[in-house]
């Protein structure tokens, strides 16, 4: 019996040691896992920042290479993934969690208790080697749970990577659109300043009165203010992009393309909305993370009561040596002790109830997130589709119409039906139409980014309201009559 017990104990110990051996810290801090989770959801060849110093240096060289060209959307994301310090922090956090996991799976060190007791005739030396038995027995389960927890943490980190990529994409779109708008504002301002200068010269030779001149001047002033606002917006948006890409100093002088990418030509090239919900439920990482939570809590549920009752089973091996102080007779006792908590007060009921509640909470959370994912898939798709309709309307109808109005105004100017000020005012209005179209184009790509995130990544969070460009348009196309 004894032998067998010892054998059992030994085998349990061996297993624990083996498992403890498995619970090593991932050498790359789980970056590979995150990379794998996000690969298909990121631009081709996008790499996560490595913890390795050599790799980091190599990454810096690659970034320096990229920055020689105007930075496109995907490259901005690639740079951000390699260079964004927040992302570094998050990945380091993941590595830390992994280390914690490994630590948790390492067996609790046995306790060696040494005691020396003396009385008048006896000296007793007590040596006990004790360890927590449950710790050993539950190791496989705990290892599984912690594995799941790490998978969950990896999924969470992956979501953060995707959110960061999306945020970089948004920043890129805003920065490029702002620069386009700034170019337009410069043109509008040029037109207004020309009008004011010409008005000044008109007044100089007596063809305009002060009122007429002042009206043109006020247009020029308004337009100069608008230009200042456009400059600030362009600088701010660019700054945000630099921050996302983790660039500063000379690197922050990167170039951007002059234009946003063209929107898809026809509605047929758009992503269909039919499978949006199914895709989101299948692909979203936040749902997968919550499913892991549910698995973990459910699996733990079975153990909760037992764990509560027998959580403190301790096994102690004692080797006591008593020496008769007078005779020098030594008496050795060897044996083991088992500490068993008596389930008198706590039969593990409350612990079980808690885990049952946790399972329910976990399930409800999953359900709620799935519900949200469905909703987000639908609304993101609607936003995306409407954004395309609006942008396409701008491209296919509004801009050609603005051009027609501009052309007809030139013809009217040719026939001396309109003045040069009306021509310049129309040029400003046409330029504003280009700004509105640019904004609509930007909104489409923002909506597309959100849709990608909502379908395959995670919750896109607050999205930019569509139609903001329309309100800009209303405030900026004041008719300038003469």
């Amino acid at each position: 019996m004894n032998t067998r017990r010892i054998t059992t104990t030994l085998s349990a110990l061996t297993a624990a040691l083996v498992l403890a051996g498995c619970a090593s810290v991932a050498s790359d801090g789980l970056r590979g896992d995150v990379q794998q989770q996000t690969q298909s959801r990121l631009p081709k060849d996008a790499q996560l920042a490595s913890a390795n110093a050599d790799a980091r240096k190599e990454a810096q060289d690659r970034i320096a290479d990229w920055l020689k060209q105007p930075v496109d959307q995907d490259t901005a994301v690639r740079i951000a993934l390699l260079n964004n310090p927040d992302l570094h922090a998050q990945l380091a956090e993941l590595a830390a969690q992994d280390a914690e996991r490994a630590q948790a799976l390492t067996l609790i060190n046995p306790t060696l208790t040494l005691g020396r007791f003396t009385n008048g005739h006896e000296r007793e030396i007590e040596r006990q080697l004790g360890f927590n038995l449950v710790n050993v027995i539950t190791l496989p389960w705990r290892s599984r749970w912690l594995g799941w927890q790490m998978e969950r943490a990896t999924l969470q980190a992956s979501q953060n990577v995707l959110l960061m990529a999306a945020e970089t994409r948004r920043a890129w779109l805003r920065a490029v659109a702002s620069e386009q708008s700034l170019a337009a504002a410069v043109k509008m301002n040029d037109a207004a300043q020309l009008g004011a200068e010409l008005a000044r010269r008109m007044a100089q030779v007596g063809n305009f009165n002060k009122l007429q001149q002042a009206r043109e001047l006020s247009i020029a002033q308004e337009s100069a203010a608008q230009l200042a606002r456009a400059r600030l917006a362009a600088a701010t948006d660019r700054e945000q992009l630099s921050r996302m890409m983790g660039l500063w100093g000379t690197q922050a002088a990167f170039q951007l393309p002059a234009q946003l990418p063209a929107i898809p030509r026809s509605a047929g090239e758009l992503r269909s909305g039919d499978d949006a919900e199914a895709t989101a439920l299948r692909e979203r990482l936040d749902l997968r993370a919550l499913r892991r939570d549910l698995d973990t809590t459910a699996d733990r549920g079975g153990w909760a009561g037992v764990g509560a009752v027998f959580g403190d089973i301790g096994a102690t091996y004692s080797n006591n040596r008593s020496t008769d102080r007078e005779t020098g007779h030594v008496e050795k006792t060897r044996g083991w002790e088992l500490d068993l908590p008596l389930p008198i007060f706590d039969w593990g009921g409350s612990a079980s109830a808690r885990t049952r509640a946790e399972v329910r909470r976990s399930a409800a959370l999953l359900q709620s997130t799935a519900l949200r994912a469905r909703g987000e898939a639908r609304t993101s798709w609607s936003r995306y589709r409407t954004a395309w309709d609006l942008a396409h309307q701008q491209q296919a109808e509004v801009l050609p119409l603005a051009k027609l109005v501009q052309d007809e105004t030139v013809l009217r100017y040719n026939g001396m039906f309109d003045s040069v000020w009306q021509l310049l005012a129309q040029a400003r209005a046409t330029t504003q139409a280009v700004v509105n179209a640019t904004n609509a184009q930007r909104d489409f790509w923002l909506a597309e980014t959100d849709l990608q995130l909502a379908l395959t990544g995670t919750s896109p969070g607050e999205t930019a309201a569509l139609g903001s460009s329309a309100s800009n348009a209303a405030s900026n196309t004041n008719e300038q009559g003469h």
Binding site: K187, D190, A191, L194, E197, L198, R201, M202, A203, Q204, V205, G206, N207, F208, Q212, Q406, E408, V410, L411, R412, Y413, N414, G415, M416, F417, D418, S419, V420, W421, L423, L424, A427, H482
Partner: protein, 466 residues
């Protein structure tokens, strides 16, 4: 161009005249078939095929309607209908007119003729015709609501009266007339004298036209009927220069020109190179003792003037309304004056913003006549027309009187540009130029004699501490 079209127009008029006079199917029915005209060219004078003889008029860019004799009554059929009038080649206007054109056909009768006119209404709204200047029974006067019920769309009314008085008259609606006349509903009525009269001379050439004005947005086709004063198309018989047929005369012909005004303002009609007398109005012939020589006669709103002169001076003489903006095509009335404005350094900047921009008007507007810049569709340029010496810088109420030594009696063809005898054209001085620039007293933008005190700080000048 004018010559070729002239013949085409004449042929059309003759064909329709023959058709209307000979088709018995129409005679069987009570209603005479209306003649219709598709061309805006000047038709040849219509020599009366029957009835009392007379010397017919030439309606400038118009035509005279044929008639049917029915038991001694001259029967005409006018159809009021929407038409598209070619106001100039490349510029057509949606109008309302009669028998295919606006203005409608000229009605020519002889003093004492009994006239029966069928009026069919193909307009979308009711109408009437008022026979402006005629002595007639009150119930034939054509004032809707006052002397007769309106002619509803699709209905035909009959007017019948005797042309009692010789002279120059017109016809136009007296129902919703502001809209209907703004849309071009009008026509000439000539009553020739039955016998020789001491106050009515025999003339070799007898021209007639109405003055009308429209407001057509550049690039649009339909006149704005609610406009009251700000018109932009000024016409002789709904035609603008250079698309108006020239008036031609053989040297020493006696020429009569009959002008009626159905615009909202007066028109001083001016003829170069000759003096004329106003020999008649819509009130009748002017007594000889009341005539005096003129080179311009003002034709007030709703009036007719009949002027006569001997075309004894050879050449191409301008004949136009003397309100200078009435010899202009469509233009923006709110466009500021650009004369004298320094554009240095600005033109290329504006072209950066508006690539097709061209500088205009800083020296005046004469450049417009020669620039030929693209305009909105269906828009006639503000000034166009080219003469033998270059751009004419005219449009609207302008044409020429061409007097030639060699011309057949009934030849109304455009003889081309006048060939001036040697040394009779103004020439450029090529002698010694003016020694120095004439000093300029006052720079533009400052009043002469105005105090030159400026508020401190408002001037960049150096003299504020004086």
């Amino acid at each position: 161009m004018q010559r070729r079209n002239f013949f085409k127009g004449a042929a059309t008029a003759v064909t329709t005249a023959v058709a209307a006079a000979s088709v018995s199917r129409v005679a069987m029915a009570a209603l005479p078939e209306p003649a219709s005209q598709s061309s805006a060219d000047t038709a040849a004078p219509l020599v009366p095929p029957n009835g009392r003889p007379y010397r017919p008029v030439v309606t400038l860019n118009g035509w005279t309607t044929p008639w049917r004799m029915s038991n001694g009554v001259k029967e005409f059929h006018l159809v009021a209908e929407p038409v598209v009038r070619e106001v100039a080649p490349g510029f057509s206007v949606n109008m309302w007119g009669y028998n295919g054109q606006s203005p409608g056909p000229t009605i020519e009768v002889v003093e004492g003729d009994r006239v029966r006119i069928y009026v069919t209404n193909r307009l979308p709204e009711h109408t009437t015709i008022h026979w402006h200047g005629q002595r007639l029974p009150n119930g034939m006067d054509g004032v809707g609501g006052l002397t007769q019920p309106h002619i509803a769309p699709g209905k035909t009314f009959v007017y019948e009266f005797v042309a009692r008085r010789p002279g120059t008259f017109m016809y136009h609606p007296h129902a919703d007339e502001m809209a209907q006349m703004a849309m071009g509903m009008m026509g000439l009525w000539i009553t020739h004298p039955k016998a020789a009269s001491p106050l009515i001379a025999h003339v070799d050439r007898d021209y007639a036209f109405l003055l009308s004005a429209y407001d057509v947005e550049p690039g649009a086709m339909t006149p704005r009927v609610n406009e009251m004063t700000d018109f932009n198309i000024w016409t002789f018989n709904s035609r603008v220069f250079p698309a108006i047929t020239p008036l031609v005369a053989k040297q020493n012909d006696r020429v009569r020109i009959r002008v009626g005004n159905l615009t909202m303002t007066n028109h001083p009609i001016h003829i170069h190179g000759h003096e004329f007398e106003v020999t008649g109005t819509d009130g009748g012939p002017v007594p000889r003792s009341a005539r005096w020589p003129e080179v311009t006669t003002d034709v007030a709103v709703g009036q007719m003037r009949q002027v006569e002169f001997i075309a004894d001076e050879l050449g191409d003489w301008a004949l136009h309304c003397h309100k200078s903006h009435h010899t202009m095509g469509a233009m923006g009335h709110d466009v500021p004056t650009m004369i004298g404005v320094d554009h240095r350094g600005l033109v290329s900047k504006i072209q950066k913003i508006v690539p097709d921009y061209m500088l205009m008007g800083e020296r005046g507007m004469g450049d417009m006549g020669s620039m030929e810049m693209p305009l909105p569709d269906n828009t006639f340029p503000m000034m166009s027309g080219t003469g033998p010496f270059g751009s004419l810088e005219m449009g609207g109420m302008f044409t020429t009187l061409k007097v030639r030594a060699q011309l057949g009696a009934n030849d109304y063809r455009d003889p081309g540009w006048f060939k001036h005898p040697k040394d009779t054209v103004a020439w450029e001085w090529t002698g010694k130029p003016l020694g120095a620039d004439a000093p300029r007293q006052t720079p533009p933008g400052s009043a002469s004699g105005a105090p030159s005190v400026r508020k401190p700080g408002t001037d960049s000048g150096h003299d504020q501490h004086h």
